[in-house]
Amino acid sequence: MSLIRLQWLRRNKMWKTLPRLQRSKKFLLPGLSALLILMAQACGKKDTDFGGTAPVIPKDSLVKPDTSKTLDTLRFATLNMSIGFPVSQLLFTNMADQPTAYKVLDSLFKRYQRTMPKERIKGMAKAIADLKLDVVGLQEVMSFTKDGNLVDDYLPELLQAIRDAGGPAYKFYSNPLNDTLLQGAMDGTVLKIAFHEGNALLVKPELAILDSARFLYFTLLKIPTGENAVTQRCLSYLKIKSPNGVVWQVYNTHLEVFEDISSSQALEVRRIVDSLKLRDSAGQETAPQIVMGDFNVLPNTDAHTVMQEGGFSDTFDTTAADPGFTCCIAASALWDTQAAFSNRRIDFIFSRHIVKVLEHHVALKDSLTTSTGVGLLATDHRAVWARIVGQ
């Protein structure tokens, strides 16, 4: 500071103001910034985190048997029947162009026929009859129509084939989804293909069905092929009563392939199953709950973890007799008995409030031979079955 200026400030008694100003400036900027940060944090925080993961429920799957009540053992299975062609290919197909659509649909139909659905269904029916299953959860239960003519209807064909194989006349609860109609035209020829696929539950005739419901998930995969186009997925529910008088709650589902969607759907499963829990007058759970299906995730990840954190046990964990791989034949090439198998376990039978799991196995490991002597794989998955004691 120059001498002239200091002298002038002193003379005018203003020299005190300068240090005061300097002192206040020293605190002004940090003070202002601290205020701004607090304001920014106060304004910004409120919407940066919201919601909460569902509460973690300790596993209670094994209940202590009550000697005053009857014990019951049932055989449960889950089986993805495979629709036989890759739907995802249609996502990048220019279906607006009629000749292109015709060619694609024609090739899709030929590929579908190559999987010989009627022969496959016989193979699956034999396995169900041989294993003497009480309840079967089915996924990708297809109905296929070409030019207005029904080509295959998996469910009635399977039920008939089970009877033909010496099995029982299963009761069924069908949940068709994803009704699709596709059309193409070339050189004056029109090709129309209609199909739907979905879930179904088979129940042995001795078991009484007391209640049923179908819950379409809120979170569904959006398909960018059209406005509001989604892949429909649902949870199927049956309340059944065995001849011994034990009531079971059974659920069957097929979750989306993409893990962000399937995790959301698994959370919905938990909510639905919790809301339907049967309780006695003291509020205690009374019925064993079985949730089975194709979850499209690996064990201890994503939707599988969601179920475990909901108090469900994977029946594989305590009694598995084999590695339990259920998925999948490469490119669903069911006609190729040498096709690679990816050795993943994505089909599960979860249980809660049961007494014990006695057995857990996979079935349909080997290829079958058709009536014409051709080797064929029944489906691109393997069936999973478990023997469970409930009360």
Partner: protein, 316 residues
Amino acid sequence: MILSYLAFPRLALSMLLCCTVTWSWDLFASVSEGYTSYEARDFNRVLTLMEKTTKEKGFNPYNVSRFDGHPQNALVLGARQGNWSFGLEAEFWVEEFEQSEVPFDLENAERDYRVTCENLRDPSYASKNLFGCIEAKEQFRFLPITVQAEYSRDLGRWFRLGAGYGLGVLAGSAHIEMTSKYYGEGAIPDDHIRFQIWPGVNLVQKGFVDFEYLPWKWLGIDLRGGWRISGVEGLTLRDQEGSSRIFSSVFPEAKDGARMYFQSFTTNPEDDKIYVGTEAEAKAKAEREGSRFHLVNGDFTGWFAALKLNFYWRDI
């Protein structure tokens, strides 16, 4: 204005003396180049989760590297009086990332081997599936602007040591452009999408020390180091042009106004997913499903170091 000064002669005179007679000012302009480091925890999680998401949706498996710093360039214009200097600093980093021939094949999602666009274009591959290749371009602009004040003392004739503080805004944005080519018989036409990822305007603060060597009156060579406190509170997708079938397949809820979130379904963070959607949609999902959402933010707090050249115009 003049009349009001006449009413307060002491103040008017003091200002006159300050600014003209005795308080001579030095003007300076500085350019600097250095490096800045930060944790950017959320951004790095985005990269890791994106690796999982894209693999799950049919892209090649790849490994991400950590994003924890970038070259720092800055320009400062300011004035110096006595031991105090005041300046306006614009720090800028513009980077373009370009990835060409990124293949995807939904039918072979989750594979653990790599394919190339050349593989996909091969006629034998083409007979089986529909698939595509993406040309992606991203331009990233990082632009913190701060007003700075610094107090420094000369250490002899050649050196000067100072410490300062800056306050300002962290501006910037990213532009992403994707051109997708679809292959295979009957494939949909190629498409193109472009959008901006807008981080908003966010507060930035800097504390720094300077050690300056003054070989000439008009030039100083300065080593600057310090700490920056800044963050991006959220990323918003806007100014979308065009559309892309593959982009919509990976992020079906992405549209103008959508924000990027981490969605948690379980207590295991490994199960988290990236969700791109509007705040209203995210809140509805959280409520309906019982999942937790965390808005992706950018924590750019960290150290910086730079070499500065200060050019002075003395006694203005």
